[in-house]
């Protein structure tokens, strides 16, 4: 028990030591508390009043898109917006209802914002309404204390001065959808827009720019007190197009005389596209300011596909514009020469099948020039069986048909050069000789886009260089054009013969496009008409004498024309496809003539491309 007594004594003593330690530690804590709250109280009070540094991302300004002369095609206008931060609002709906009392805000917009607020992180601002007037902004600012979480800012609204005229080239921007979110943090900014079609899409990364940051002290109600540090956002790059804005507008207006049509005006030597028109179009400004569902439905339902850039996405049988390729293939393979003549009785008989020339009564004796000028089908029917589909297909590919040309706009179609290998691979069937005959006049399975037809024409008239089309001249200050196109393996005298034929088509009174010739001296055009059959003409139709005009619109022929000018020293090429427009000479050639006349008058090829802001005035 004595030992235990010792233990108790030691324990009591040491318990006092522990108690003393506890008391002194508590005293230290109390002293520290007094130090923080009394001596440092004022300092911390100030820090609390304007507590917290807030870091905000600064949206970069989207790069402009300008035409070759520096005329703006896509710019940014100021746009006042109302925003809400869920975290600061606490009750989002209540704040929005308060806001509704002072500005015009629909229940739908409130619903949409609430929905959005549940999806997004609580601390990110969400756009409630944009396009506010100055009065709206002032009203919100005055009433801020009653609007927890609401704030205003100045954003940017993409505007397209040329409206519908450049809609298919420039495209438009829209809200970022989930699939498009990549690692770029700027995409999470409220109301940030991303390119959806056209140049806006294909050069989105360049146009977008880089986000900046603003470090600011924020007081307890979340209002910025002062900016501490700022990293400026990097403006997106300016994209300078090869397009001539005025020519483009002219083209788009000219096309509007038809229901559904597209056209390309291109430089024969460089491949620079001066105008790329597709009618009907849409108004991109409506897309950036919020498109109504009705308008959207209308655009989708329209059989003329206003949302599609038909100049690059539309695929049509090249029809008689394909005859130059057959002629080139025949010249190259030696099956045709300057003296080759064929008798056209109005049809061509192969085995038991009869293939009709478009002229029932026939053209009589034709050679390569008159065959093009009259667009005699029999001449090509007969020779194609000798030339062979392989030679024709190879020449078509050399001319840029059958594959994408790497154009700098999205949704370029590849077209189709049909040959036995293709048929076997895709249909598992053997190529029939009759198909070669049909292909020789660009019908059957052959398909080409208006852009490809323009490229084909360019390669025929520029001395045989494999030009490809492009539309972006400069990205920022860096030239983006491609030059020094490789020379194709073509005989110059053959090319000259084709050119002579195309000259005759337009400028001889026997030619199919004589009515659309250019009479201004030095600006004469050469070309070729085409009329693509959409619905097969049956024997019954032929007997009944049904005319194209009698058919419903969707069954009428496509009208095509490809051309170049001036005839002696080709600089510009054009292609026009009028969907269901009837005959090429009546519907397509007049449009092509007007475009060629206008482009030669404006002569964009003789002015160098505006090289961006650093070079100042347009050259």
């Amino acid at each position: 028990m004595k030992q235990n007594a010792d233990t108790v004594k030691v324990f009591s003593r040491r318990a006092f030591v522990i108690g003393g330690l506890q008391a002194s530690l508590l005293a230290v804590l109390g002293g520290r508390l007094a130090y923080l709250q009394v001596s440092q109280g004022q300092r911390y009070k100030m820090m609390a009043d304007k507590n917290r540094i807030s870091i905000k991302m600064i949206a970069p300004s989207r790069g402009e898109i300008v035409d070759r002369f520096g005329v703006p095609l896509a710019v940014n206008n100021q746009n006042f917006r109302a925003l809400i931060v869920t975290e600061q609002a606490k009750d989002v709906e209540k704040s929005l209802r308060e806001l509704q009392k002072i500005i015009d805000l629909s229940d739908k917009q409130i619903e949409k914002t609430i929905k959005e607020s549940k999806k997004r992180p609580k601390f990110t601002p969400i756009e409630v309404k944009d396009d506010l007037s100055w009065e709206d902004v002032a009203r919100i600012e005055v009433n801020l204390p009653d609007l927890p979480g609401i704030s205003t800012d100045v954003g940017e609204r993409r505007t397209y001065p040329f409206g519908e005229s450049t809609a298919h080239i420039v495209g438009y921007v829209g809200a970022v959808n989930e699939k498009e979110i990549d690692k770029d943090p700027v995409l999470s900014l409220p109301g940030f827009k991303i390119g959806k079609t056209g140049i806006e899409k294909s050069f989105d990364k360049e146009l977008r720019g880089t986000a900046g940051a603003s470090e600011a002290e924020v007081n307890v109600i979340g209002r910025e007190v002062r900016e501490l540090n700022r990293i400026e956002s990097g403006q997106g790059k300016r994209i300078t197009l090869t397009i001539d804005g005025e020519l483009q507008r002219f083209a788009q207006d000219r096309l509007a005389e038809q229901r559904s049509v597209s056209a390309v005006v291109m430089d024969a030597h460089t491949g620079a596209v001066y105008a790329l028109a597709s009618y009907p179009a849409f108004n991109p400004n409506e897309f950036t300011s919020g498109l109504s569902v009705e308008t959207w439905q209308e655009l989708l339902a329209d059989a003329a596909h206003p949302l599609t850039n038909k100049a690059i996405s539309g695929q049509y049988p090249p029809a008689s514009t394909f005859k130059m390729i057959v002629l080139m293939a025949g010249l190259k393979s030696g099956h045709i020469n300057a003296n080759t003549t064929v008798y056209c009785p109005g049809h061509y008989t192969f085995g038991t099948d009869r293939f009709h020339c478009w002229k029932k009564s026939g053209h009589g004796w034709v050679n390569y020039i008159t065959a093009l000028a009259y667009s005699c089908d029999t001449f090509f029917y007969e020779l194609s069986t000798e030339i062979g589909i392989e030679n024709i297909a190879a020449m078509a590919r050399e001319m840029g048909l059958g594959e994408r040309l790497g154009f700098d706009l999205p949704n370029e179609s590849a077209g189709l050069v049909a040959d036995p290998a293709w048929k076997f691979a895709n249909r598992g069937q053997k190529w029939q000789p009759g198909e070669t005959i049909v292909s020789s006049i660009g019908q059957g399975s052959m398909q080409a886009t208006p852009l490809q037809l323009a490229v084909m024409t360019a390669r025929l008239v520029n001395g045989g260089y494999a030009v490809k089309p492009w539309v972006s001249g400069y990205v920022g200050d860096v030239p983006h054009q491609k030059e020094d196109w490789p020379k194709l393996d073509l005989n110059a005298s053959h090319l000259a013969m084709v050119k002579k034929g195309m000259d005759t088509v337009v400028n001889s009174n026997k030619g199919t496009a004589y009515g659309s010739r250019i009479q201004e001296p030095g600006m004469e055009m050469g070309g070729k008409t085409g009329t693509a059959q959409v619905k097969r003409i049956t024997k019954a139709d032929r007997v009944a004498g049904i005319k194209n005009e009698d058919l419903v619109w969707q069954h009428r022929h496509h009208a095509l024309f490809v051309g170049y000018a001036p005839v002696d020293n080709p600089r510009y090429v054009v292609s026009v496809v009028v969907e269901h427009g009837g005959g090429g000479s009546a519907a397509a050639a007049p449009i092509a003539r007007d475009l060629m006349l206008e482009v030669q008058k404006r002569d964009p090829a003789n002015t160098s491309i505006f090289a961006g802001q650093t070079k100042g005035k347009p050259a």
Binding site: M1, Q3, N4, D6, T7, V8, V10, F11, S12, R14, A15, V17, I18, G19, Q22, A23, L25, L26, V28, L29, G30, R32, L33, A34, L36, Q37, V38, Q40, G41, R43, Y44, K45, M47, A48, D49, N51, R52, I53, I55, E87, V220
Partner: protein, 377 residues
């Protein structure tokens, strides 16, 4: 030492036991818990949900549990000491093997209803085991190093498992509580001096084994303003909240820092900050005094105890409780690095509340049954 197991005290009636309950201590505990409820009500922006109501439920359940523990004879707890220790060890091993991963560390066993944190149980179990071991020790025993090997293992074994989790804060607390048990049981002062030297020498080596986030916490503590938006954010914001409370405080529900969410984890580890921001220096000192009274009450029970087991158990548990208080408050005031330690009875959280109330149950059991003779079995 040798006495009959059936002394007449063991036949205390239930009524006598209830009479023996420490009403004063219960009042102190309830008062402290009420501070917690007020803070949680304020942290939720003046609402019982999500925290205050749940915490109140836990407190009621825990309080009943505390009374049950208190009414069970201290001899039972004496007998169960080793069982608790080995049970706690088993649970620690289980979390190590299959514990749920939370906060980057394996600390919990999910029982569906609550998430059991074996390291919390272990803090009590180590105190119980050491109290039992030292119960029959003489002063001479305590001077023999060989005698101290087993208690050293009792500390080292759970500490190494907790370190594996890894939970540096809890490991240090077990070491400190265990060391205090050595001290109160009469171990030579030289042992502590030698221990302190060894610890100082091994700090640079231990640093190598710290996780990056633990190193970051220490570094941030050393210079919190170097990185106000990064790791130092918690401490800076906590100090701003505390300091801006001033002498008078901002008033109940008026804590701008806390209510604007500038204050992190305001309902758990940083709850003292919220309290002192709203109630000022007076409120903060008042809470410290409240804690002090609890310490004193416990120490008084320990001094009045009639056997070593009760003495060591009660004082050990009080030391344990006070360590929580010191570490948590020192942390939020920027005196020590940020460690994940709740403020007992006040912070939102089930395990820490239950552990604290269970400790007080044992303390009260020792007090009620102070005349029960504990025998070695």
């Amino acid at each position: 030492m040798i006495s009959s197991a059936n002394s007449f005290h063991s036949e205390m009636t239930f009524f006598q036991k209830v009479q023996g309950l420490n009403w004063g201590l219960m009042v102190l505990i309830i008062a402290t818990a009420c501070v917690g409820f007020a803070c949680l009500y304020s942290a939720a922006g003046g609402s019982m949900s999500p925290w205050a109501s749940k915490q109140l439920m836990r407190f009621i359940v825990g309080f009943v549990g505390m009374l049950i523990i208190a009414l069970i004879d201290i001899r039972w707890w004496y007998k169960l000491s080793w069982l608790f220790f080995f049970g706690g060890m088993a649970l620690l091993i289980i979390v190590e093997v299959m514990g749920h991963v939370g906060m980057g560390a394996q600390r919990w066993i999910n029982l569906g209803v609550i998430q059991l944190q074996p390291s919390e149980i272990m803090k009590i179990a180590v105190v119980m085991a050491l109290a039992r071991y030292f119960h029959s020790a003489t002063i001479e025993d305590m001077r023999r190093l060989k005698f101290l090997i087993i208690p050293a293992i009792v500390i080292a074994a759970p500490v190494s498992l907790v370190l594996l989790q890894p939970d540096l804060g809890t490991s240090l607390m077990i070491i400190m509580a265990g060391t205090s048990m050595f001290f109160m049981a009469g171990a030579s002062i030289w042992i502590f001096i030698a221990g302190a030297v060894i610890v100082c020498a091994s700090v640079p080596i231990a640093w190598q084994f710290l996780h990056d986030y633990q190193k970051a916490r220490v570094m941030t503590f050393l210079d919190p303003e170097s990185d106000p938006l990064g790791a130092g954010y918690h401490i800076m914001q906590s100090k701003i909240a505390l300091g801006s409370g001033g002498v008078e405080g901002k008033g109940f529900l008026q804590g701008t820092q806390s209510n604007l969410n500038f204050l992190p984890e305001k309902q758990t580890d940083f709850i003292f900050t919220l309290w002192a921001e709203e109630w000022g220096l007076w409120g903060g000192l008042g809470l410290l005094v409240l804690f002090w009274m609890i310490f004193l009450y416990g120490t008084w029970i320990a001094l009045r105890a009639r056997q070593n087991y009760s003495r060591f158990l009660v004082l050990g548990l009080i030391v344990n409780f006070s360590l929580y208080v010191f570490i948590n408050i020192a942390m939020v005031m920027g005196l020590i690095p940020v460690v994940g330690a709740p403020l007992p009875l006040i912070s939102y959280g089930g395990t820490s509340m239950l552990a604290a109330l269970a400790s007080f149950g044992l303390i009260m059991s020792a007090s009620i049954h102070r005349d029960s003779k504990v025998t070695r079995v």
